[in-house]
């Protein structure tokens, strides 16, 4: 029910955009910024990078909307379209970072500073009960991209498989099995991290 309502609203917005991109683009940002940011955050595991990527994504989306004829804008399914743009921005950045001579892990993008921020939990940031969350974020970040992206779309962003297949341009079966594999790996990673931690603590 809620989903149908959201889809309806997105459609109204693409209709409005087809008439006037400039006047309605702010509404588009307001509507999608939270989802795209949480998605980007799970891709990068770093807040500054996540914000930059979403911002660049909106800029790309704006230029595309300005360039398209109105009928095409009207027909855009905004939700998957925007997720796909953000994913592409992320992938371009990873590729650029890798093409420089430094070696980068799958989960971190730009500078040493970014890696630092991603690795060490900032004591002020860790709220009550935030330990588990922090570890889980680490575990998600350490998944290979091909499992991480569909898993995040399915379980963090709560998007249906039928839509994820459009975002990733993959057959639905492939998406499902990658998500499944991702969950398995995540469980393994997470309990391994936990065991290590508990072991360290009991040793000290």
């Amino acid at each position: 029910m809620e989903k149908a309502q959201r889809a309806r609203k997105d459609w109204d917005l693409s209709l409005a955009l087809s008439g006037n991109v400039d006047g309605n683009f702010e509404k588009l940002i307001r509507t999608f910024q939270d989802r795209l940011y949480s998605f980007s955050l799970r891709l990068t595991n770093n807040r500054a990078d996540a914000e930059e990527i979403v911002q660049e994504g909106f800029v790309r989306a704006f230029r595309a909307l300005k360039a398209y004829p109105p009928q095409r804008v009207e027909g855009i399914d905004l939700n998957p379209w925007l997720y796909r743009i953000v994913l592409n921005v992320f992938r371009t950045r990873v590729r650029k970072a890798q093409s420089r001579l430094f070696s980068f892990g799958d989960s971190s993008l730009t500078s040493g500073k970014a890696e630092e921020a991603a690795a060490g939990p900032n004591p002020e940031e860790v709220a009550e009960g935030g330990e588990i969350r922090k570890q889980l974020e680490q575990a998600v970040a350490s998944l290979p991209e091909r499992y991480r992206v569909p898993l995040v779309l399915r379980y963090v962003e709560n998007i249906a498989y039928s839509e994820i297949k459009d975002i990733l341009k993959q057959p639905e079966g492939t998406v499902k099995s990658n998500v499944h594999r991702g969950v398995q790996l995540l469980r393994e990673n997470f309990s391994m991290m936990n065991r290590r931690k508990n072991h360290e603590e009991s040793a000290s």
Partner: protein
Amino acid sequence: MKNLPPDLFGETPSLLRELGKMGREKAPRTLLPGALRTLDLGDFYFGWNSPLGPVFVAYNKKGISAVMLARSGGAFERSFRRRFSRPVYPEVGLLQKGWRDEGQWASPGAKKKIPFDLGSLSPFEQAVLRKTLEIPSGEVRPYGWIAREIGRPKAVRAVGTVLAKNPIPILIPCHRVIRSNGQIGNYALGGKEKKIEILAAEGVDVAGLKEMADSKTRYYGSDATRIFCFPTCRHARRISAPHKVFFSSEREALEAGYRPCKICRPLIAARTMAS
């Protein structure tokens, strides 16, 4: 630190629930203004040390969209949203820049060239404000003059209403529009006193205007050129005392064989007054 059971996520549903919570992240507050700024969309504001004291100035890519008095940036953002039904954002680094003088954002003497965003106004409102921009500093015109000049001679009251709601006071000089009888009239940005203050600062002889209003003088004529003007017209001010004649109506001037000045075009306003 709490001891975590090693198989906390042994059951998949609780793992998925935890993942779902990660989806509740809110985008940072800087994201939206940052994107709008890059795309040259949206309104931004800064503080201006105006001739009437500190005011807030909002602008977008089309030009200046508002000038308002407000107690604080937050209060300005709220009034702006209420009035224009869209948000306005502080300029990046606004606090560091502080209140700016005019020279820091507009080239001196180029007021007419400042672009304005009047897009949210009706064609009539736009016409009134554009006409108001033509009144030079140091001069004033009656409401009826604006009405006549834009081809709506009967809309004198409507002109008054539009100017009272002028979204860009000071820069669009609605303070240079006064009552047809020479009285100063009201001013939304701080009342009549402020209107007098800014007119005086521009070189208008406000006391003289009042005197004329009391003696019912509406126009100055020159018996050398046989032309009549609004009293603040730069040509009227050049008339030397021995040649200056006074008229209380346009008819009186015309009957005396005077023609209206082509610069301040008093005839047009005079007709309005008669109607």
